[in-house]
Amino acid sequence: MNRRKFLRNTVPATVTMPALLNGFSFNAISSPQSALARLLGETTDTDHVFVLIQLSGGNDGLNMVVPLDMYANYYNARTNIAIPQSQVLRLDGTDKTGFHPAMTALQNMYNEGKLSVVQSVGYDNPNFSHFQATDIWSSGDTTKIRKDRVHTGWIGRYLENEYPGYPDAYPNNNMPDPLAIQISSVPTLTVQGEIYSMGLSISDPENIYSFVNPFNDYPLNSASANKELKFLRVVEEKTKIYSDLIKSAYQRASTMATYPAKNSLADQLKIVARLIKGGLKTRVYTVSIGGFDTHKKQVNASDTTTGPHASLMKNISEGITAFQKDLELMQLNDRVMGMTFSEFGRRIKSNASLGTDHGAAAPLILFGTHAKKGILGTSPDIPADIEVVNNIPFQYDFRSVYASVLEQWFCVKRPALDQILLKNYQSLPLIEGGPCGLPETPEENNNNADQLVLKMWPSPYSISATIQFSTNGGHTLIQQIDALGRVVKVLTSREYAAGTFNIDIYNDGLPSGAYFIRLQNQSLQKVITVMKIS
C-alpha cells in the first residue's frame, strides 16, 4: 500500500474532541401516518423557529439563578461554592433573584426584556441518572421503568403530527427542508418519531454527500436485516437530498454579528442563524453543550465566581447573546426563540470537593424577542438545617413548559397538544406577542398565585392535619412532595368550582420529616413547606 498517501488522506492536522466532532447526524424517515395525526388533523401554519439548547450533565441551577431572598440558607447549604451576595448580578424589577456573575450578557438581555426565567422546573419522582433523566426530558414521559416509556421524543411527536408521512413524502412543497436539524453527530431522542428520527444531524453544513443507491429489493428473508437495510437506504437518500439543501442555504447567508471564540455553543448557534437566514423552513434546531456534571471543583477555591461552572455560564451567556444579536441584524428575531434545559439540577448542599451531586428541579431560560420578561415562580425554599439528601421540589412540570411553547409559539391547539405531550399540562405565560395570542404576564401570574390560599395546620403535624386551599375553578391538583423532591401523595386532582376548600389528613403513613405541599390550578401554583413529627 502507499503509506504516504494513506497518511496524508487520513490524518488531519489535529484530532478534534467529540464536542467538535459533533456534527449533524440526521435520521429522518417516514412513519406511517399515525392515528394521532389522523385524529388531530389540523396543521398549524407558522414560520416560527425554536432552538433547543441542551446543557448536558446536570446544570447547577442554584448557582446560575441565585435566590437572593433565601441567601442566608443558600450560603449555609453550600458555603464552599456559594456566589458572594454582593457579586450576584441584579435584575430589573426584582430583588429576589439574580444571575451568576459570569452572565453579564444575559443580565443585559433580561433587562432588555428578551429573557424569561422559569423557576424550579422538574417532575415528580425525579430520576438521578444522567441517562434516565435525559431520556425523561427528551421523551416527556416520566414512567419509571424505561421499557414502559414512550420511545419517541416530544419534538418528534410534534413534527410527526405536523408533517404526517415523513420521510417518504418529503421534501415537498409544503415542507421543502429538513423538519429539524441537530447540530450533533448523533441524533437524540428529542426529535425521534415513531420509526425514524424527524431530524437531520450535521456537523459541517458544507459537507456534501453524493452517492445514489440504485437498489430497492430485499432478497434476504429476514425481518431484522431488512429493517436495517431499509433504514440505511433511507438515510442515504435523505442525506443526499438534504445535504444539498443545507449547503446552499448555508452559503446563501453570512454571519452578521460577532460571536465569541472558543465557545462550542456559539459555534453551533452561528450555524443555526446562517441556516435560518439562508431560507430553510426548518422548524426546530437542537444544539448542546457539555461539562455540567460538576461533582468536583466546579469553582476555584480562591474565588467561587470563577472555575469550570463559571466558564460554562459565560459560554451560555455570550453564546445566546451573540445569537440574538445576529438574528436581530438579520431581521429574523421575530421568528426565532430558544430555550435551555438540563437533565436535572444539582443537590442543594455542596460536597467537600467543591462540587455538587445530582439533584432535582432547576431553573430554565427562554430567550428571544418574544420571550416574556420575568421570573416565573418563586425562589426554591432552602431549609436552614440542610441535609445531604435535600432536593429542590419542582414548581413547574417540564411538560408545562413544553406545552406552553407548542401552544404559544407553534400554535398547537388542544386536544392535539395533550396527545403530543401524552397528558394535559397547564399553560404558562412564557411568550409575549407571539403568533398565537396573549397570555398573562409572569408578574400577574405570580400575583395571582400569591392570592391563592394554601395553608396547613397544625404545622408541624403528627397524626391529623387540615389543608386549606382556594381555587379559581377548573382542574385543581394538590401534591405532597418529600425532601428528595418526590411526590409521595396526591391529595386531590379533580375539577372544582371557584372557592375555598379544606382537605383533612389523618394517619397518612408518611415518615416524619420536611415536606412540601404544592397546589396547581390552571397556570397558577403555590408551594408551602410543612413538617411532620412523630
Binding site: N9, V15, F131, D217, A223, L229, H295, V388, L484
Partner: protein, 542 residues
Amino acid sequence: MDRREFFKRARAADITRGKNNRMFSGLTPYTGSWTANEVAHLLKRTMFGAKKADIDYFLTLSPDAAVDELLNTVAIPSQPVRDYGLIEDEFGVKWDDLGVAQGQTWVNDPNILSNPGVRPIINILRVSSLRKWWAGLIINQGRSIQEKMVLFWQHHFSVQQSEVENAQLLYRHHALLRSNVLGNFRDLVKQVTIDPAMLIHLNGYVNSKQAPDENYAREMQELFTVGRGNDSLYTENDVIAAARVLTGWRVNYNSIDSSFDAGAHDTGSKSFSAFYNNTVIAGSSDGNAELDALVNMIFSTTEASRFICRKLYRWFVYYNIDDAVEAEVITPMAAILQGNNYDIKPALSVLLKSEHFFDIINQACYIKSPFDMVVGTLREFNVSFPAYTDYTTGYALFNSLYVNTAQMQQELFQPPDVSGWPSYYQDPMFYELWVNSNSLPKRADFTNALVNDSVIDIRAFANYSSNPADPNQLINDVTALLLRYPLSGNSKNYIKSRFLLNNTTDDTIWTNAWNSNNNTLINVSLQEMFKFIMNLPEFHLC
C-alpha cells in the same frame, strides 16, 4: 432429536409467534451447514472483518472448534513505548522526557522527573502513544475474539481520557481489562472499583465519610452490574449505602496504584433494601472486606447475571431483546454465567455456538461500528501493517486508524459519556445511531480514499475470485466476501453492466479486457466498481 428437545422447540416457537416476525432458535448447539457464509458471520461478529485467509482456515474446523479457537487464543502484548522525541516549548527550547528513553515503555514511570512545564505535554504524548499501540493491536489482531472483547469492556466501563488525564493510570486500567478479557466478571468489577483510573473517572477518590460522593456507587449498580431492567429494584438508599461502603479509596499517582485510607472510611453499618435481601454490611476499618461483601451482595442477584448477558448479546448478536430472546437466550445464558461463578467464557461460548447465533434472522442485521468499518475493511483487503511494536513507522499508521474511527464517533479512551457508546443501549435506534447524515459522508470519504489512493490492492482482491475473467463469477465472489447482505441477480447485473461491460450486456468485453491484461481498463473498472460496492447500504451491514 429427542422428545424433550422437540417440545422445548415447540414451546419456544409458541412464545415468539406473532412477534415481529422474529423466528426463534435458542441456545441449542448449532449443527447446521458450515460454509463461508456461516464462517464469515462468526468472524465479522467476533473480530474486525473476515479475511479470505481466515475464512478458508476456519472452514477446515468444526463450528465448535472454530469458536473454541477464537475464545482460547490469547496474546499477551508488550507495553506501549515512547515514540516521541524532544519536546519544543513556545520559546523554542527543547526538553526531554527524562523518565524514559525513546523506544522504552513509559507505563511504569510516573512522569515526575521532567521539567514541570512540559509534563502535561509529555502526558498528552504518552496518551497518544497508548492509543496508537491499542489501534496497532486491533489491526494486527490474531484469530481471536480478544480485541473485540477488550473494546467491549471499554464500552462497558467507559473510562474517559478527558476525566482521567493520566496516561499511566489509563494504561493500568486498560491492562486490567485486557488481562480479564474473558475472565471472571465479578472479580473484574471488584478490581475496577478500586482501579485508580476508575476512582478518578467516577470520583471514588473523593468519596469520604465526611463527604460521601455517590457517583461511582450509582453507576456501579446502574451501568456496570444490575442495570435498570424491570426486575432491577435497587433503591436510592442502596446507592447511598454503597457509596458509604466505598468511602476511603485513594489514588497514588507516583506509585500508579490505589490504597485505602481508613480515616476517610465510614465505619457505620450499611443497610440495603429487599432487592439485596436486606443485607447489612457491618462497618469496619477493613475497606477490602467491605468491598468484597458489597460485590458479593450485588452478584448474588439474578439481575447481575442477566444484565451483562444482555449487553454481550447486543455487542455480538442484535440489539432487539424481545420477550422470547429474554426467556430463551438471556435467561439460560445468565444461568450458565451464574453456574460458572461469573466466568464469562463458558456463557459466551454457549451463545456463539448456538442455533440462535447462526439463525438467518441474526445474520446481516448488525450495522458496522466505526472499527468494523475502518479496521474490518482494511483487513478484508489484506492491507499489511507493521507489527504493533513498531513505533518508528507503525505508530503513525495506527494513529490514522484512531483518527478515522474517532471521526466516525468511536474514539478509543473517549466514549461519549459514562454509559459507553449509545449504539448499544439507546432505544429505539441502537446500531442505527452509527449511520446518519453526519457520519455517512465520513464513511464514504474513507472507503473512496482507500481506492483512490491505492491503499487497497483491488487487483489482488479480484484475484480471490475463482475465475475473475468471468464477470458473473467475479461479482459473485467479491460481493460474497464484502457483503453479508446478498445482492439480487438484477442488482449484480446492474453492477456488471455499469462497471465491467461499459453499460452493455456483452460479457466478453470484460473477459477480453482481463485476458489481454488491459491494465488501464481493468483498473478503472475495478476502482469504480469497488467504490460503488463500498458505498452501498448493504456494505454497512455485517
